[in-house]
């Protein structure tokens, strides 16, 4: 079983288009899927689940849609907080915080504070996150440490980078399995460094239709890959 599953939630817009609905209804359906299924993502010993909701690239979308995605995010966090606390899930939000509205930032802060002592399960929400940006901020942090004499530049290695990346908030920073729905076979600048050895799964189902059964299929697929890997010389 994977210890860390990462999911790129793609397909809300196409789902809405297919039904003749507006993009905001697509985002709402997507949010509902998260809320209905999030606790089941941790079944079978999975420790960390990362959701890629929003990236720097999305800022290019029309203003209304960006606002709607933020509102949805707020809704998910508010609605799911009691559940997450009950199930002992630690909530972490990673990404650039500079363009996120105050109200959402405040909510995120509260959620992180309230769940910071939970250990066995962790939900990482990647909001305005980009893999390159993550590496850049790690680089700046290391440069700062070097400037202050805490480390030598020559000592910078993969381990030090791991500790500086935003995923260092988890005991299992590197996903074993990455799922991207809607059939697009790209990582779109989600986890880059962290995906070095991640199994990549690209089901064609659109995100709002990705329920419990589809998740189990993904885990089943993952298990088969591991078995083949074990048999190889």
């Amino acid at each position: 079983m994977p210890k860390h599953v990462a999911i790129i939630l793609e397909g809300n817009r196409r789902w809405a288009e297919k039904r003749g609905l507006g993009p905001s209804q697509g985002q709402e359906a997507g949010a509902r899927t998260v809320m209905e299924n999030v606790k089941d993502y941790f079944s079978m010993g999975i420790n960390t689940v990362s959701l890629f909701a929003f990236s720097t690239e999305n800022w290019g979308r029309p203003g209304d849609e960006v606002k709607y995605i933020m509102d949805m995010f707020e809704k998910i966090v508010k609605s799911e907080m009691p559940n997450l606390r009950r199930y002992g899930v630690k909530v972490s939000v990673i990404g650039k915080r500079t363009n996120i509205p105050e109200s959402l930032l405040h909510l995120i802060g509260e959620a992180e504070e309230a769940t910071k002592n939970n250990k066995e399960k962790q939900l990482i929400m990647a909001l305005d996150y980009s893999g390159k940006f993550d590496i850049l901020q790690a680089c700046k942090s290391l440069a700062e440490k070097a400037k202050n004499g805490l480390i030598n530049i020559e000592d910078i290695d993969e381990n030090l980078m791991d500790k500086e990346l935003m995923t260092s908030c988890s005991e299992f920073p590197n996903p074993d399995l990455l799922i991207r729905t809607s059939g697009e076979q790209r990582i779109s600048n989600f986890y880059l460094w962290q995906s070095a050895y991640t199994e990549l799964y690209f089901p064609s189902v659109l995100w709002p239709d990705f329920g419990g059964a589809e998740y189990l299929e993904a885990l089943d697929w993952y298990q088969k890959r591991q078995r083949r890997f074990g048999l190889r010389v």
């Binding site: 390159k132 290391l142 400037k147 199994e199 990549l200």
Partner: protein, 263 residues
């Protein structure tokens, strides 16, 4: 008689390939293709051959694929020839791979080699200090000899790991900005210090033998690349796989263009 027939067949293949490529070129073509050439050992095992012949067959497939790519007009091709992780294999295998690499790298300097036929500029990307002196020297010689070629580019990742490449770029960026404000380090600084900065990001990454991992290859550069995992083992890869990947690329490309216009 046999030789003439073979030559004739070769001519026919070339001609039909040219027609096929002309059709493909009517749609958008990738500028940069990357390959993870996986499955040589399994291929040898499957055919009951000794290990080394899998890699030899793989090299032959590589030459064909390069030929097709450059004929089609793809300017950059990157291949994952040897990972830093591969040094952990059995010493005999590592040695035989190094020997094969030395032989093949040297052959690139031959008059009849593909390098001269297509005017290829070759780069060896990776932690070359980890290679033995002979292989490193041969690699450096090829880079020097092809430095003036500008038609097409071949990037050979050897003794390479993407995380290693990123760490080296991060270190260089730290050194560059050591005296100035650390805050001023930007993405472009890291980007410039990446060994792969001599090429644009790959449009397509193809991995053979059915594995669906990047295995620490071009992590920084493939953030937006279309990823294909083909079941065929590397020596079984052929023109049809390349055409299939490009058709998929074209289909996805037109969808993305449509989306961009909608926004």
């Amino acid at each position: 008689m046999g030789g003439e027939v073979r030559q004739l067949l070769e001519q026919i293949h070339r001609f039909s390939r040219r027609c096929l490529f002309r059709v493909l070129s009517m749609g958008p073509l990738p500028t940069h293709l990357a390959f993870i050439m996986d499955g040589n050992r399994r291929y040898a095992k499957k055919r009951g051959l000794e290990d080394g012949s899998g890699h030899k067959a793989g090299f032959s497939t590589l030459m064909s694929m390069l030929q097709y790519c450059y004929e089609l007009g793809i300017k950059y091709v990157t291949i994952y020839a040897f990972s830093i992780d591969n040094f952990r294999r059995k010493p005999e295998e590592v040695q035989s791979l190094m020997d094969l690499m030395l032989e093949k790298i040297k052959s690139l300097l031959d008059e009849e080699s593909i390098v001269h036929e297509y005017g290829i500029r070759v780069y060896f990307i990776g932690n070359l200090g980890l290679l033995n002196d002979q292989v490193r020297a041969a690699a450096e010689e090829v880079m020097k000899a092809t430095a003036k070629n500008s038609r097409v580019v071949l990037l050979v990742c050897v003794a390479y790991n993407s995380t290693d490449e990123i760490v080296q770029a991060v270190k260089r960026s730290c050194v560059d900005k050591a005296d100035r404000d650390v805050e001023r380090i930007q993405l472009v600084d890291i980007e410039e210090n990446m060994q792969m900065s001599v090429a644009p990001e790959p449009d397509i990454l193809i991995r053979s033998s059915g594995e669906t991992r990047l295995s620490n290859f071009l992590l920084w550069q493939t953030g937006n690349s279309q990823l294909f995992s083909l079941d065929a083992l590397w020596p079984e890869i052929g023109l049809r796989h390349l055409v299939w990947a490009i058709l998929n690329f074209q289909r996805s490309h037109s969808y993305l263009e449509k989306r961009k216009k909608q926004l």
